[in-house]
């Protein structure tokens, strides 16, 4: 079994290269470009991790995967344990490992990256998921006892799938409705096979089916079936809208309606969903790109996907036109790099202003402006400005417009009562993800506008919790994740620390100072004890603890707001201290009664006792200070 080398040696290991298919070979087929690490690659790459005390990589991850911990398990060759650890936070690691913009997330904040190349966290994530999929039997997901409650998920993109997975594991009966004939959203119709094999998406969906999730294709909610029918006639108690941002944007320049001008969505859908690259074995056609010039307008992942598809359809020249420079391109670095290797031409600082067509309105040229970068705009990127008199034409056979998507107004038309913002995105409560309509939740691109797979997935899971809480609240019951309970008690400790800390600043010496200091230090100790347990591998933090409704945990931090000042009397301060300590004592005493893992129960029993002592001490001080010795005195 492997282990971590000495720190100084770790820094000497170079970042492991991703094995890739040869650029010439791959540009002629749709097979996956990045082949994935071998076990050996993965272990040496994992050994580069410094196991930082404060793992800053986690701050870069939108769903806070416990990166340092899964890497430790990987080094120990406990691949199954590593997968479990990742899955606590990320439901789709095989997919996110492939498509997340790691260089802007975890790998950007990885400490190794300050001096060397960062640990290849994304590739490790992918390895862990792939290794388990190829070598291990799928694990039975723990499923809570059936609650008998029905939830409808609308849209089967990453947001909908993640939401469905969590709700099913909480014991609810979940049905996913999808407008298209296949499930997966952009993962199926948008991102091409050579970047994300569809088999992986199907594998995840099959796992959900095994969990009991029902999938219904060809159903447009708002058209085929309405929200109110789902609720009132079909017995769904909550609905999640994961509709995505599927409406293609055009530039509204002359000639955009000529034949031969595609939106990226259409171009990619024809190939990915309808398999037009296999025409005539599949019936849907796509314009013949063989030996043609295809120009794609845009610089995001969608543009890279489209231009690389064009290359694979045999284009003699496949070009990107982008109005800023390579540096500002929003696409993942790896995709830009792969595109360059495959011979994609980049016409940066170029902006189309008109399409030119023949007498049959078939596009044959693009009129463009050259651009230069001016002052930074709102997004912080330098604004492209037209260079006057720089107009020129590029000959083309096919154009693909990939300048972004916005939210589809279908649901706004069928359900105008649901609140939207000025971009047409659904407005939700940030905590629960509930829309302005009771029982209707939403997440993913339909809320944020076009974003990322990981954000959509995270939003789906957050909504699952919101839905779950609302369903049990309806039933008068409430469950909470173990980690959430720990966060509540950590917060209680932190608030107490703040309170005593202020006291220390004001009484800077003497017996009172010593007394407060002792309490302050104890609270810090408590916080550390809880945190250590929370970060340990001893138990699954995502497990649900049932029936916590009587504890009012959400309000726990709301114990007494108190401002110390130079005029604060000792009685005033002690009254608050008594309240705080009493609250903490009561809280831990009640928590011990819950069904908790043994280590946590033990800790809480300890803490209840310590807080009881604190309470006695502050009560005694109060007695001394006021001359009221209470019953004991």
């Amino acid at each position: 079994m492997a282990s971590f080398p000495e720190k100084k040696d770790r820094m000497k290991i170079p970042r492991n290269k991703m094995p890739e298919m040869n650029p010439i070979k791959r540009a002629a087929c749709f097979e996956e470009v990045s082949l994935g690490y071998s076990k050996e690659d993965a272990i040496t790459e994992a050994q580069r991790c410094l196991q930082c005390k404060i793992p800053t990589c986690i701050d870069g991850c939108p769903v806070s995967i416990k990166i340092d911990q899964f890497i430790t398990l990987l080094v120990k060759e406990d691949f199954s344990g590593a997968l479990d650890k990742i899955k606590e936070d990320n439901f789709l690691p095989a997919i996110c490992g492939r498509v997340c913009p790691q260089e802007k997330q975890c790998e950007q904040t990885c400490v190794v990256g300050k001096r060397n190349e960062p640990v290849a966290i994304g590739r490790l994530e992918r390895f862990v998921a792939d290794y388990n999929r190829d070598n291990e039997k799928p694990k039975d997901v723990k499923r809570a006892a059936p609650t008998g409650k029905k939830v409808a998920i609308v849209g089967s993109g990453p947001a909908g799938l993640a939401c469905a997975a969590d709700l099913a594991s909480f014991g609810h009966q979940v049905t996913v409705f999808e407008a298209l004939h296949e499930f997966g959203g952009v993962l199926i119709y948008g991102i091409p096979e050579f970047r994300l094999p569809k088999e992986i998406v199907k594998y995840e969906i099959d796992n959900l089916k095994k969990l009991g999730v029902e999938f219904v294709a060809n159903s447009i909610v708002g058209k085929t079936i309405t929200l109110s029918e789902l609720m009132e006639e079909e017995g769904f108690e909550a609905i999640f809208l994961g509709l995505g941002a599927g409406l293609p944007t055009f530039m509204k320049i002359p000639g955009e309606e000529f034949a031969g001008v595609y939106s990226a969505n259409e171009f990619l859908t024809r190939v990915n969903l309808m398999k037009a690259n296999q025409f005539p074995n599949f019936d849907s056609p796509i314009l013949d790109c063989k030996d043609k010039t295809v120009v794609v307008v845009g610089g995001g992942n969608t543009a890279m996907d489209a231009v690389r598809v064009a290359k694979r359809l045999g284009a003699k020249s496949a070009k990107i036109i982008y109005r800023r420079s390579l540096e500002e391109m929003p696409a993942r670095n790896e995709e830009i790099h792969h595109a360059q290797e495959e011979g994609i031409e980049f016409l940066n600082l170029t902006n189309p202003i008109q399409y030119i067509g023949d007498d049959k309105q078939v596009v044959n040229a693009i009129k463009c402006h050259k651009m230069e970068l001016g002052e930074p705009d709102d997004s912080g990127r330098r604004r492209p400005v037209v260079i006057e008199g720089s107009e020129y034409e590029i000959d083309v056979d096919v154009v693909v417009v990939a300048i972004g998507n916005s939210s589809n107004p279908l649901i706004n038309k069928s359900n105008p009562e649901i609140e939207v913002n000025k971009w047409g995105n659904l407005v939700v409560d940030e905590e629960t993800m509930e829309t302005s309509e009771k029982g209707v939740f939403a997440g993913g691109d339909i809320v944020t506008g076009g974003a990322t797979v990981i954000l959509a997935m995270g939003a789906g899971r957050k909504a699952a919790l919101g839905i779950h809480h609302s369903l049990i609240a309806k039933a008068g019951k409430k469950d909470m994740k173990l980690d959430e309970i720990l966060d509540v008690v950590i917060n209680v400790e932190v608030e107490s620390q703040k309170f005593y800390r202020m006291g220390l600043d004001i009484c800077s010496e003497g017996e009172t100072h010593k007394f407060i200091k002792h309490l302050y230090e104890d609270e810090i100790k408590h916080e550390r004890m809880i945190r250590n347990l929370k970060d340990s591998n001893l138990y699954d933090g995502s497990q649900l603890i049932e029936n916590v409704e009587h504890l009012n945990l959400e309000d726990s931090h709301k114990t007494e707001n108190f401002e110390w000042s130079n005029n604060t009397t000792i009685e005033e301060a002690l009254t608050v201290a008594i309240k705080r300590e009493n609250h903490a004592f009561q809280l831990f005493t009640k928590l011990v009664e819950l069904k908790l893992p043994q280590e946590i129960k033990d800790l809480f029993t300890n803490l209840a006792e310590e807080e009881r002592q604190h309470l006695a001490e502050v009560e005694k001080e109060y007695g001394l200070a006021t001359g009221n010795m209470g019953d004991e005195g």
Partner: protein
Amino acid sequence: MFEIKKSVFLSENVKSFEIVAPRIAKHRKAGQFVILRVHDKGERIPLTIADSNEEQGTITLIVQGIGKTTMELNDLNTGDSILDVVGPLGQASHIENFGTSICIGGGVGTAIAYPTAVALKEAGNYVITINGARNKDLVILEKEMKEFSDEAYITTDDGSCGHNGFVTDILKNLIGENRKIDFVLAIGPIPMMRAVAEVTREHGISTFVSLNPIMIDGTGMCGGCRVIVDGESKFGCVDGPEFDAHKVDFDNLVNRNRTYSKLEKESIERSASCPKVKASNEIDNK
């Protein structure tokens, strides 16, 4: 899978299907359509919902076999199934009591115009229908149109049935009679719709046409169905399919619809449903 409950040829090349699709049957309104895929290698194609029966949970589609998918569809029979059917899509026809309305159908367009014509009648209009076809054998829904129309006309290009000539001849006559015509709906081949639009434009008669751009998803996701109306880009599947005929850029529609003509030809020539292929298979079997 969507079961075909009943199927019958209306003319040599046009077949009517009753398909079990209860959710669609419940929600559809005149003017809306479905998108279907016959099998897992098939194309997604739009077809208008000609009729529906909510109680039985069925919708009626009337299909003219003109290419691979429509011919394959027309090879299916009662008891067979269609893999995917999604809908109802598009905006419903705008129905109100305009006064006197003329509904013109050319070829299979008659099937598409039929539900809207019935709805106009139900809304209190005096409905005149003009049903055009190339010859007598291709006239469809003759009886159905006659049944509810206040006046029903048939035209054929060769005079084998009804008026010898085009639907616009009848339309011009009606206008020439100085009758007050309040609304015209024209659905059929693009040249026919364009010709109707030109006739009514001079007389300022409000006219709508149902456009047939190439579609994939039918939900506004691909933008392949873009049409130009009043100088602006619209999505045929969500903003349409019916638009103000006097504002439609027909040239653009014709040109865009030609995008795949070469490939479509290739596709049908390889298909077992193609009449030529069928004929040669028969010879081989003998």
